[in-house]
Amino acid sequence: MSCPHLNQAFKNEKTRDGVLKTYNMIRYIIEHSTFQNRHLLSMRCTECYEINHGSTFMCLQCGFCGCWNSEHFTMHSKKVGHIFGVNSSNGLLFCFKCMDFVSGNEMLTNSMLVKYWDDISVKTSPPSLHGRDGLCGLVNMGSTCFMSTIVQTLVHNPYVLKNSLDQHHYAHCDSDNSSACFSCALDTVIANFYGPSSESSFPSQQKGFIDLLLCSWNANKNLAGYSQQDAHEFLQFFLNQLHSDYVRINKNAVIKPEFCKCIAHSAFQGTLRSSIICTECHDGSNIKFDPMMDLSLDINNKTTLIECLQSFHEGEKLTDFNHKCRNCGSVQNPIKQMTIAKLPPVLVLQLKRFEHRMTGNSVKLNDFVQFPAYLNMAPFCHKEETKHVPDLVYELVAVISQEGSVNQGHYTSMCKITGGQWFRFNDSMVTSVSEEDVLRQQAYLVFYVIRQIG
């Protein structure tokens, strides 16, 4: 039930607008002040001067800041009758009469939109409950699991999902035919998965996927047919297609990948820094920067993802007969060290399980490699003497596994959806799984999303 005290205040339009204006101003301050200002000004109690003494609330009617643990805001409220306080760490409004956070008031929830409210309340509706989580299986159309696992992973990726729901492609694409345009097909999948269930039965929810198959086969004949393909290659193909569509709707503007704003490059692209280090004088001035859309990690003799990243980071001895050090002239084999110059918001790590031997046959490495639910990537980034690299904590959001051999295998994916629940996607079957189940997977591709910086 919503707060009767706020409803009372909202009865009078002038009061309502005053409340919302002040509320928005306080939220703006909270969201835009530095760590220091926030802690010294809005997270410090006016009464006891303690910082973070539990939550701190900023009064909606005067400049008072009161803490929770010593009940200084509660006393302020009783003393002067001001009953609303804004929580200075999450911007939520608390009613000190109900002794509860105010929820269930759409205008308050969308208070930043209040000046357009008349239009909004007529032209929009709250998102439907059904389909909120986008859970839907994808029927196997004949060895298409390597595609459906990538589609499920991207459709539940927060950056790809938001890009589609914001209609960046839809609003500009002249094709508008999801069986001829890859990005339109992806939009169709997302519309089917997240839209109101009244309009989409299970068969119609497959349409977007069928369109994606058609677009893929038209764009790359090798993907057609019933042979099993590599999910990692399909991911690269998928991201390339999204980029090509972006270039097309931008009238084929020449866009250098490192400056491209398409969803593929803005969400998945990082930069690798490789330096050739002389083993004699340790000169490392021979430096190159390359864009990277994912990291492929060797797993031989390794049991954890951290070990794989460390070995990637340590570098490898080059056998380069033409090498001659610019600094000391040494011709000793140098070491090539790879570090990360720029991390992407979405980090894709491929565990190299398929080894193509000199003999021509391919073998699959089935060793279990442990990977964490949260990964700090700071240790693998390039460090300048002068600059401190803050902790960069990534959150695991998807795992793609391949069971079976190289050519005869089956792909399944596990994705974390909004709210933190994990689900397993095995073609048309969708099942809820625990995070422990996820971390036991024999992972082939793992997807992380930036969660905390600093």
């Binding site: 039930m1 919503s2 997270m43 303690e50 910082i51 973070n52 003494h53 539990g54 939550s55 701190t56 929770w68 643990n69 929580n87 760490s89 999450n90 939520l92 956070f101 929820s103 269930g104 759409e106 929830t109 709250p126 409950l129 909120r132």
Partner: protein, 43 residues
Amino acid sequence: HPTIQSTSHSIFDNLISSMIQDIVARTTTQAHALRFRYGIDPK
């Protein structure tokens, strides 16, 4: 008299309690908003 240990514990407890209250605030407010919007317990 406050000592370095007692003050350190007190600052640590402040941090933990504000983090717990932040998580509980966000979780309960979101759950209440969803229940209010959809009328049922959207498990």
